[in-house]
């Protein structure tokens, strides 16, 4: 059993201090500095004040996001020991390494398949659930996997993918269905290189269809009922209505969800790390990056891979920023 | 003294966008002044500059003798009722009204006294503990008024307070606001786009269009002696009829009739204006209009005819018992005592 007494004496106080103390300190900081700001001449006040309010947040973001970002780029241009500047040689090494090229290929699988199928099932479930009276529990149950960690999901699916040699009783759900319903030999989902990438991607899809569904469902309900009724009166069938009225109106939301999923596909780590540790040709960039640093102790190469990830994300980033500015202009 | 003076006030956003141009008006103490004009004419901006919610680009605004250009909104000793009421949704009616006094750091007993007083005047005693969402539109408006009253300001500013109420409530509230003004004996500055509100409520009216002040005067003044074409067309329901005329030898020639002018004017071309009540079924020796009727409006107490005289559209107000059908040709008399003439170019009144 966990050492509860140790927890109560050592750690609980720290927890309480952190949870209550920190907001109090931040509050006092703001109140205290407000006091000082009020002493400034009236005209200066509105210019000085905002910096107090955004200051702490900006400091954290700079220290933990901005500076490390630049620093990583810098590290990727150095050698293994961080002493000599080697320019782009890390990048050349990494991009000619077949292991890395494999991860790029796998990330592309993730990018395309994960995004597409999550969206597909998300739209499907949003539209279908919208038409049944028990919509709320259905959405809840499909959404539930979002609440658990990818690690837990990996454990769940590890059991789903369980393999026993042909002829033996199958304990894995999928192989059981294969052998009893389709009469095919069981598949080693995690090792078989024909399927394993897709098996891993399926776990992520299963987890995040709920995300897409919830957002698309909200967008769907935002479509005025009058439009659909007008279309029906005009004689359009349900499928036509979906194709020509509903889907076009959902497109903006689909785009937003897609960008989130794409970013996600590029960052994927947990599932692959836990289920295969990157073996059997399933490795992906994020895992490789981790391995280069913690296993091969090569920060230069590790940083290079991280920068590759960044480069891959840039188109999405630019797109997001453009969307944001267009939105702001409309306000 | 709580008079309010706008002295050559200008509000400019960018080089191309000047929303208020050279605004000059003096509002007397205890007066009910209405700023009226179509949407976008700058009336709300003018009000907000007085409130301190917009900066003043040029000119001065004075409350009493005090120049308030650089005085913070809260120190100007004015109170404002917003169009949407701006009630704090999470606070009760009592707290909403007490809030400004708490900001002034008044003692609790004084706050209670003032809130209860305002509540009594406005009939809110039974609602003090309710939150705004549990109130009707009219009640919310009264809370907004209450919040202004408790501050005991020198000037009350009201920004289109009736526009969110339904028609019946609007009529009732108009009367209540006028009574309130009489009771409180404080300067009221009231902004609206509705000329009926302006005419019925104001001691004086200031009409604005496209940022420019068109005319200031009592409702009667403005109605009987509009300074230009815009004012003539804006005030009065149904709208004044406008007929382009050429002017020769003291006579105005329209496409369908002629009329002799009471005095000589310089211009050669103009617009003749006359209100519906000047065109009746009573015969006139001076000018007769032969109208082909397009639309008949029967209102019970009134009857309006809209139709063509020559090539111009005219509105006439006739006896409600007169039987007229669409398409009829009727002979109407023009009362020349209430004739208006506007120059074709400057649009200023000539008579």
């Amino acid at each position: 059993m966990p050492d509860l007494s140790q927890f109560l004496t050592n750690q609980l106080p720290t927890l309480v201090v952190a949870v209550i103390g920190v907001p109090v300190v931040i509050g006092l900081y703001i109140v205290g500095l407000e006091f000082l700001v009020r002493r400034l001449p009236d005209a200066v006040q509105p210019r000085a004040r905002p910096w107090i309010w955004v200051g702490p947040a900006l400091v954290f973001v700079t220290v933990f996001l901005v500076i490390p970002l630049i620093s990583t780029i810098w590290i990727s241009l150095q050698d293994k020991h961080g002493t000599a500047f080697v320019g782009l040689s890390n990048y050349l090494a990494v991009l000619s390494d077949p292991a890395v090229l494999l991860t790029i290929r796998n990330n592309l699988y993730w990018l395309v398949l994960y995004t597409f199928f999550t969206l597909l099932f998300g739209v499907m479930m949003a539209v279908l659930a919208d038409r049944v009276p028990y919509e709320t529990p259905v959405k809840s149950l499909i959404f539930m996997p979002m609440a658990i960690s990818f690690v837990a999901m990996s454990v769940i699916w590890k059991f789903m993918y369980s393999y026993q040699p042909p002829g033996a009783t199958q304990t894995g759900t999928l192989n059981f269905l294969l052998t009893s319903l389709l009469h095919i030999d069981p598949i080693t989902w995690i090792q078989d290189q024909r399927f394993n990438n897709f098996a891993l991607i399926a776990v992520a899809i299963w987890g995040w269809v709920g995300f897409a569904m919830v957002i698309l469902s909200a967008a769907l309900k935002g479509i005025p009922g009058d439009l659909l009724e007008a279309a029906r009166v005009d004689g359009a069938g349900e499928i036509t209505i979906f194709r020509r009225v509903i889907f076009p109106l959902l497109m903006p939301t689909v785009t937003v969800v897609a960008t989130t999923l794409i970013i996600f596909a590029l960052k994927a780590f947990d599932i692959v790390y836990v289920m295969t540790a990157g073996n059997f040709d399933t490795n992906i960039l994020a895992v490789k990056m981790y391995q280069e640093y913690f296993v091969s102790a090569d920060p230069g190469r590790s940083g290079a891979i991280a920068v590759i990830l960044l480069v891959a994300v840039i188109p999405v980033l630019v797109f997001n920023l453009r969307q944001f500015r267009a939105q702001e202009a409309r306000r | 003294m709580a008079s309010v003076t706008y002295d050559h006030v200008v509000k400019r956003y960018t080089a191309d966008l000047t929303v208020v141009k050279d605004f000059n008006v003096e509002i007397k103490d205890k007066e009910f002044m209405v700023l009226v004009g179509p949407s976008g004419c700058g009336k709300s901006t003018a009000l907000r500059m007085l409130a301190g919610l917009e900066t003043i680009t040029e000119g001065q605004i004075r409350i009493g003798d005090r120049v308030v250009n650089n005085v913070a909104a809260k120190d100007r000793d004015i109170a404002m009722v917003f169009q949407s009421y701006a009630l704090y949704p999470h606070m009760s009616v009592y707290d909403n009204m007490a809030f400004p006094l708490q900001m002034k750091k008044l003692p609790k007993a004084e706050i209670e006294k003032r809130v209860n007083n305002a509540s009594r005047i406005l009939g809110l005693d039974n609602f003090l503990q309710r939150k705004p969402r549990a109130l009707s539109g009219g009640q919310r408006q009264r809370v907004a008024l209450g919040r202004a009253i408790v501050r005991d300001p020198q000037v009350f500013l009201l920004d289109e307070p009736l526009s969110n109420l339904d028609a019946k409530l609007r009529g009732q509230t108009r009367i209540e606001l006028q009574k309130l003004h009489n009771d409180l004996e404080t300067t009221f500055i009231y902004v609206t786009h509705d000329q009926v509100e302006a005419m019925t409520m104001g001691d004086r009216i200031a009409i604005m269009n496209a940022g420019i002040l068109q005319q200031v005067g009592t409702p009667d003044d403005i109605y009987d002696h509009p300074a230009n074409l815009f004012v003539a067309g804006f005030i009065g329901t149904p709208t004044m009829s406008f007929v382009p005329v050429t002017l020769q030898n003291g006579t105005a020639k329209a496409s369908g009739f002629e009329v002799k002018l009471p005095k000589h004017v310089e211009s050669a071309k103009g617009t003749l204006g006359f209100r519906p009540e000047a065109v009746t079924d009573k015969p006139s020796e001076v000018a007769t209009l032969d109208m082909k009727v397009d639309v008949v409006e029967r209102l019970g107490s009134d009857q309006f005819l809209y139709g063509q005289v020559g090539s111009d559209t005219i509105t006439a107000r006739v006896d409600p018992r007169l039987k007229v059908e669409v398409g009829d040709q009727v002979k109407l008399g023009l009362d020349t005592r209430s004739l208006h003439l506007f120059d074709a170019e400057t649009e200023l009144a000539l008579l």
């Binding site: 952190a18 947990d270 994300v313 | 004015i78």
Partner: protein, 297 residues
């Protein structure tokens, strides 16, 4: 005569159209219910397995346990709690998650208010930068931050991971809260300004009380995100048992258990309890957190 005519107007009950509608309706329900059940199967499978003996798990599928004889046991749970540090991990998860949720929320509230209702030089560019940072993968920060932590002795400490999660969580938190604050009506602020309320008064007495739903959404979203986080904990807490949260502990079990994988079922489920409770009781807020800024058009 008229009665007969009336009868003819009503369509015969078994027309093709009626049938298609009816079957369409049935097909819809079958599809929806079928898909929902299919979605629940994986979780259900693990849940059932966690109550079975090792021998049962390795020899028969979990679905067989649903018919008699029922052979359920709780020994998986008791064993995994006793010997695998799962209890400590649970407390660690709490120690990590709660402060790492509250600190960014507090900082974000103040910053978001400034971004929404104060005018200052560089405001729009900074906010744009924040939106940009939302897309940047965390991988780009690990090496330098870890180096920094190592040099100041913060790696492997709770304080270190609190600070890291704060930095990582701020862009989203600020974005979510700023969007909400900006949606508050302008005249509320103008009225407060005329009433003489100071910036602090407006923030604490008007903005915060009205923002409770948005803040709740943020807190719940952030809580689930950090509780379920694996990578950040792996990197900054180094997988050392004394401070590892449940995600790390369960992940270690996946590979280290070998023949003891029946314990894995219970371990995984124990790690899911808290998020599931939070999720089911506060789903509304979680969903709202996700919807923040996501529904467009």
């Amino acid at each position: 005569m008229s009665v007969m005519a009336q009868e003819r107007i009503e369509a015969p009950a078994w027309s093709a159209r009626w049938l298609a509608d009816r079957l369409g309706g049935v097909a819809l329900h079958v599809a929806v219910i079928g898909l929902t059940i299919a979605w629940m199967v994986p979780t259900l499978g693990l849940f059932v397995s966690s109550f079975r003996h090792l021998t049962d798990i390795s020899n028969t599928g979990w679905w067989t346990a649903l018919s008699p004889p029922f052979n359920f046991t709780v020994e998986n749970y008791s064993k995994v709690l006793a010997q695998n540090n799962l209890g400590t991990s649970f407390l660690n998860s709490i120690m990590i998650t709660i402060p790492a949720t509250i600190i960014p929320a507090a900082l974000a509230a103040f910053a978001a208010y400034a971004f929404s209702w104060m005018k200052f030089w560089g405001r729009d560019i900074l906010f744009l930068a924040l939106v940009g940072l939302l897309a940047v993968p965390l991988q780009l920060t690990f090496i330098p931050v870890l180096k920094m932590f190592n040099s100041v002795g913060l790696s492997g400490t709770f304080l270190g991971i609190w600070l890291a999660h704060t930095g990582y969580g701020l862009p989203f938190a600020i974005y979510l809260l700023a969007n909400f604050f900006r949606s508050l009506p302008t005249d509320l602020f103008e009225s407060a300004e005329m009433d003489g309320a100071s910036t602090l008064t407006v923030f604490f007495r008007i903005v915060l009380p009205l923002s409770v739903p948005a803040i709740a959404s943020l807190v719940i979203f952030q809580f689930l995100w950090i509780w379920n986080d694996f990578l950040v904990a792996l990197i900054y807490l180094g997988g050392t048992p004394p401070v590892a949260p449940m995600t790390v502990t369960v992940a270690n079990l996946v590979n280290s258990l070998g023949s003891g994988y029946h314990l894995l079922t219970a371990a995984a489920f124990l790690s899911m309890i808290v998020p599931l409770i939070v999720f089911f009781s506060l789903q509304r807020f979680f969903v709202r957190g996700i919807l923040a800024g996501s529904v467009k058009g």
